[in-house]
């Protein structure tokens, strides 16, 4: 498949699109990378509480460089702040929040998402790769909803939404919805179903770049 031309949503627009779907008052964990951008686009009037699995609930934005504290960081090891109402806790409590189903939503990046919701996002399985997993397997096992935010295809044009993952799995049947540059797609018992096309993108264009059948949006569907 040829390289995907520059149409569809930018990284920021993808993050903004996800932010629209997060309910006021949600407890949310944002993965490293594009998911982190979601926090910038929360609509006016909604208050979300961000969890970072290294031990902070109520994470705020990055501070000015001169205010950075090496002991106040997020899971991506970036300097952050603590919002009013925040709390610190140890790792066993942090993952009790995750595994115990107390968080409403987690937004993660992906290498591959399968039509049954299987997720691969921690390793390409390369022989020379240094394996590292962090908290991804716990997050997908325990958080109520798992949204994936990713480009629709790889840099070389391979689909990331696939029939079955070929990379090592992070979790089985865990993804509920995928936000890409081209579309918003639900993972349903029948497979991938379109929710919404990005502006200027048509159904055929998305279907051709999806590695499994793409069902059309339901009549009157709203994201």
């Amino acid at each position: 498949m040829s390289e995907t031309p520059k149409i569809g949503r930018t990284r920021e627009e993808m993050a903004q699109r996800v932010a629209q779907d997060i309910a006021d008052g949600s407890y949310v964990n944002l993965g490293i990378g594009i998911p982190e951008l979601v926090a910038r686009f929360v609509p006016e009037g909604r208050e979300l509480v961000y969890h970072t699995e290294n031990g902070l609930l109520g994470m705020g934005p990055s501070p000015a460089e001169e205010d950075a504290d090496p002991e106040l960081i997020n899971a991506g090891k970036r300097h952050v702040t603590a919002n009013p109402g925040a709390s610190y806790f140890h790792q066993a409590d942090s993952f009790a929040m995750i595994r115990g189903g107390h968080l409403d939503l987690c937004v993660l990046g992906a290498l591959q998402v399968a039509k049954n919701g299987d997720l691969a996002n921690w390793s390409t399985g390369g022989k020379d790769a240094i394996p590292a997993v962090g908290g991804a397997m716990d997050l997908v096992a325990g958080v109520k909803s798992i949204y994936v935010i990713t480009t629709h295809t790889t840099k070389t044009g391979e689909p990331k939404l696939v029939d079955a993952c070929t990379y090592p799995l992070t979790g089985l049947g865990v993804v509920t919805r995928v936000y890409t540059d081209l579309a918003v797609i639900d993972v349903t018992p029948d497979g991938f179903r379109l929710v919404e096309l990005s502006p200027g993108v048509d159904f055929e264009y998305v279907a051709r770049r999806t590695g499994a059948p793409l069902l059309p949006a339901l009549e009157g569907a709203h994201a």
């Binding site: 960081i73 790792q91 993952f95 394996p131 997993v133 908290g135 096992a141 979790g171």
Partner: protein, 236 residues
């Protein structure tokens, strides 16, 4: 009179033996007990198993202990980090064994070990390569894997404050693994920025109760990994 203060980091670690398992607190540089790690390098014990979320950065702290080839195995969730070159080199050269554990499973294995629970079932990693060879059991229609508790000969942690009995407070996200690791160490050694008399800490705010702590070392101005790296420090 209970007084767990120890004169120096070196004295606190004098009895570490070859082959010991060492838990090391910290997530990235937050909470990494750099001064205790440097004292452990000086002490010389080898063939250690290290339990820690990461494997350190640059050539200071935990990365320096690895570089000195004192560690034969790490039990870890995320061994590579920005500025981490030592672990990847040792791993590719086949000089260090890695047991990769999901972060939440790592925390719970340590908590269980410290709490006298030998094993537990968890949903994390079911169906993934990290579940291969592990016992499974279904509860209410869902599959879980059996994971075993972890304990250690020594636990090394960094604190904001400790009292002479060994009650401990932490600083922000530097708390991370330290409270559960304190529970799981046969000998838990705390380096604390301030050390106060018993009674000076409000019992309502104590995070790690003193029973989990054996030795307290006063390190008034602890180094941060990133600052040492920026200054070009390589230990020793």
């Amino acid at each position: 009179m209970i007084d767990k203060r120890t004169a120096s980091a070196h004295e606190a670690l004098a009895d570490v033996r070859d082959g010991d398992t060492i838990m090391v607190g910290g997530f990235g540089e937050a909470g990494s007990p750099i001064e205790l790690l440097h004292a452990l390098i000086d002490q010389g014990a080898k063939d250690l198993t290290v339990v820690s979320n990461n494997c350190g950065s640059g050539e200071v702290g935990l990365a320096a202990l690895l570089k000195a080839e004192r560690v034969s195995k790490v039990i870890c969730s995320f061994p590579r980090t920005a500025n981490s070159t030592i672990f990847p080199e040792l791993y590719r050269a086949g000089k260090i064994e890695l047991e990769l554990v999901p972060q939440g499973t790592l925390a719970e294995r340590i908590r269980a070990g410290g709490a006298g629970v030998p094993a537990f079932y968890t949903p994390s990693a079911v169906g993934t390569p990290l579940a291969e060879g592990k016992e499974t059991r279904d509860f209410d229609g869902r599959t879980y894997i059996l994971e075993h508790g972890l304990t250690a000969d020594f636990t090394l942690i960094k604190a904001r404050a400790a009292d002479t009995h060994g009650n401990v407070l932490y600083n922000k996200t530097a708390r991370n693994f330290s409270p559960v690791m304190a529970m799981a160490g046969r000998a838990t050694v705390v380096q604390a920025q301030s050390v106060v008399d018993a009674g000076a800490l409000d019992p309502e705010t104590v995070v790690t109760p003193a029973i989990f702590v054996d030795r307290v070392v006063h390190v008034a101005e602890p180094a941060h990994e990133s600052e040492l790296i920026a200054a070009g420090v390589a230990y020793p």
